[in-house]
């Protein structure tokens, strides 16, 4: 059972002093689905970016903690006691990812010349290696000098030296996950998001989550720009993450529509850089009816 805990998070744009988050408190546990809703500019995307460690934002106050339990990682019998609580703000983005924090991007990068297969297998092996390093410290025999230059990559085939997960094993895994998401096999040999449609990119984000098996997945507007068929595939993928991998999901969305397919346990509403209202799934429906002005009135009149 893993938990991500945002405590009084204040954040601003790193270059400049525009404050965007004014004390966000939020907690998501394994196996739960949370929806984070709010109007444009309320700080939802910024919240996702500070969780993942985007260098354009600086956290000026508060903490983002990841709590793990002993058996949270498949294949690791017992996480050492002193490696069960992490302040994510002390970690590099790739280290956060290695501990299972996954961000599905609102606008995924298009990366030319790097195939999906190469990228994802490199990512999976990097994740396993980095995670072991974080949990158990550096294994000096293996790791000497391997930090920056350890992955022997080629643009087409990926790591030449087999990492933890070899080429054949990975291809099998990728094939299974793609079938699950109803994705065409040819995507595996295409360059990462290059020339993908908006919907294909979103589907690809869910595929990446399925491969990397995150403990906590933050999905930033994964439902925007999807037709109904693809929305259903994406929703199936999100539900599978929760049901099969026990992932805790924080789903950022504008629209109530996806919540019909992925039912949230909790809905949080964000206004002006703070969570101002929380409730069950019915809150999303109510919001759809009454709009953000209703929330604004309630919050500011009460205050």
């Amino acid at each position: 059972m893993a938990t991500i805990e945002l405590k009084n998070v204040h954040a601003e744009v790193a270059e400049g002093d525009e404050q965007i988050l004014h004390g966000v408190d939020l907690e998501v546990e394994s196996g739960e689905i949370h929806a984070l809703m709010g109007p444009n500019g309320s700080g939802k995307s910024t919240t996702s970016k500070v969780i993942a460690g985007h260098p354009a934002y600086q956290v000026t106050e508060g903490e983002i903690l990841l709590h793990l339990e002993a058996d949270d990682f498949d294949g690791i019998e017992e996480i050492p006691e002193d490696a069960r609580t992490w302040d994510l703000l002390d970690l590099e983005p790739n280290e956060r990812a290695a501990l299972g924090v996954f961000l599905a991007f609102q606008y995924p990068a298009e990366i030319e010349g790097v195939t999906m297969t190469n990228f994802l297998r490199t990512a999976l092996n990097a994740k396993i290696e980095e995670r072991d390093e974080l949990l158990f410290g550096e294994d000096e025999e293996d790791e000497a000098g391997e930090d920056e230059a350890g992955y022997d990559t080629s643009p087409m085939e990926g790591n030449v030296d087999d990492g933890e997960v070899g080429v054949a094993e990975f291809q099998q895994l990728l094939k299974e996950k793609m079938e699950l998401l109803d994705m065409d096999e040819k995507f595996a040999q295409r360059y990462l998001n290059a020339g993908f449609s908006g919907g294909e990119k979103k589907q690809n984000e869910v595929l990446q989550a399925a491969i990397l098996e995150p403990t906590i997945a933050v999905l930033d507007e994964i439902d925007s720009g999807l037709d109904i068929d693809r929305l259903q595939d994406v929703a199936d993928g999100i539900n599978a993450l929760r049901d099969e991998q026990g992932t805790g999901v924080l789903q950022i969305t504008h629209y109530q529509r996806i919540l019909d397919y992925v039912e949230p346990d909790t809905v949080h509403i964000m206004l002006d850089g703070e969570i101002v209202k929380e409730g069950g799934p019915e809150l999303a429906a109510e919001l759809e009816d009454k709009g953000y002005d209703w929330v604004r009135e309630q919050v500011y009149n009460a205050a």
Partner: protein
């Protein structure tokens, strides 16, 4: 050119006579050498690329002649030939009556020896070279030339002639021998002339990988006949300073050319690279694509010229250049130029110079990939669109491997 420039002792009539004599060269060649030598003092250095407020490469300051040792032109050369094509060392060709006539007919016909000071110098002093002749209807694959430079200077000349309906794929590699003195500066000069006969196809790939004490000047130019194609692959990894021109004169109707470039400079390497095409016939097509990466304090400047002549009806001409800078101290510029004198032209040109996209990097780090690995993957991926244009597997693999080595 300033009259004060003093030639290195030995670049004179006596030296040229001796080079020609020792090789038992025919009179016409000796005469060409001497003409070039005579013209040399009055010729300018090749045009260098200038961008507003800056001349990137100061060839005047380099005193190329001082690097030249006419009698220290030691090299090793390996040829791998296709048995249907003729691939012979330059001076061997002169001993064969038919080939001698071929050389005589074409020598200096594509690149004028007196085009500039450095071509004249090369013509006066070259001691090595290759003649490739592909008869009609012959498909020659995998002609390979490897030149390993061991001495202080080397002047190299290559002639490619293809007859009607023939094709040839040529891979040229240049590097520095293991025994060469690293502390010594070196000068390499290469001229390549390609005369592509009617409906013939030439792909000429080159991988320049000299050590970083070498000053490198090369001029490669092809001329096309009707329906012929000349494609260039130009890989630049080595040298202290490189000044190159790769160009095609589209003289035949419906002829085509593609100039694909890849370069990767680091330390204090300096690349000044020209790609040029002249559309001088109807229905011609040109595609110029170059990608380069520079790191440390390296500098690169690229100029691409698409020149569409008055009579070049129905021209298609495209050009793209992208440079990626990996360090704050590296410098790059690119200038694509389009000169159109016939309105019946479809053309495009673009150039970008930039650094690694921070959002791309963050995206990859967000998938647990460490920053260093992510950068390397982005750089290797950046080269893929040009590598995909390389038909010769060996050249593509060599380039990939050398790029990989430079990153790690």
């Amino acid at each position: 050119m300033s009259g004060a420039t003093r030639f290195h002792a030995g670049i004179d009539v006596e030296t040229v006579e001796r080079i020609a004599e020792e090789r038992n060269e025919p009179k016409w060649l000796r005469a060409k050498r001497l003409e070039a030598l005579e013209a040399l003092p009055d010729l300018d250095y090749p045009d260098v690329i200038q961008t507003p407020g800056r001349t990137w490469t100061n060839l005047d300051d380099l005193d190329f002649e001082a690097l030249v040792e006419p009698f220290d032109q030691t090299e090793e050369k390996d040829w791998v030939a296709d048995d249907q094509a003729t691939v012979v060392p330059f001076h061997e060709a002169l001993n064969d009556a038919d080939l001698e006539e071929l050389v005589r007919e074409h020598f200096g016909s594509v690149v004028d020896p007196e085009e500039n000071r450095l071509t004249a110098l090369s013509t006066a002093l070259f001691t090595t070279g290759t003649v490739i002749y592909v008869p009609s209807n012959v498909d020659a694959e995998d002609v390979k030339i490897r030149t390993t430079m061991n001495g202080q200077s080397l002047f190299n000349y290559t002639l490619v002639v293809t007859e009607q309906n023939s094709s040839v794929t040529i891979l040229e590699r240049q590097d520095t021998g293991a025994d060469a003195d690293e502390s010594e500066e070196r000068y390499y000069s290469g001229i390549v002339e390609v005369d592509a006969g009617e409906n013939s196809y030439v792909q000429y790939g080159s991988l320049q990988d000299f050590d970083q004490s070498t000053y490198n000047y090369t001029l490669k130019r092809g001329v096309t006949d009707t329906y012929s194609t000349v494609n260039w692959i130009e890989g630049n990894l080595g040298s202290r300073l490189t000044k190159t021109e790769v160009s095609t004169l589209l003289e035949g109707d419906s002829s085509e050319t593609k100039i694909v470039g890849a370069f990767f400079g680091h330390d204090d390497q300096h690349f000044d690279l020209d790609s040029k095409v002249w559309h001088r016939a109807e229905h011609t097509t040109a595609d110029l694509v170059t990608r380069g990466v520079i790191d440390d304090v390296a500098r690169s400047v690229y100029e691409g010229v698409q020149d569409v002549g008055e009579g070049a009806w129905d021209t298609n001409s495209y050009q793209r250049e992208n440079t990626l800078m990996l360090s704050d101290e590296s410098e790059a510029d690119a200038s694509p130029k389009l000169i159109i004198n016939n309105h019946d032209t479809e053309a495009s040109h673009s150039a970008t110079v930039g650094q690694i996209d921070q959002e791309d990097l963050f995206y990859m780090e967000g998938r647990a990939i460490p920053e260093g690995t992510a950068k390397n993957m982005l750089v290797e991926g950046f080269f893929v669109p040009v590598l995909e244009e390389v038909e010769v597997d060996e050249l593509r693999e060599d380039l990939e491997e050398r790029i990989h080595e430079r990153l790690h």
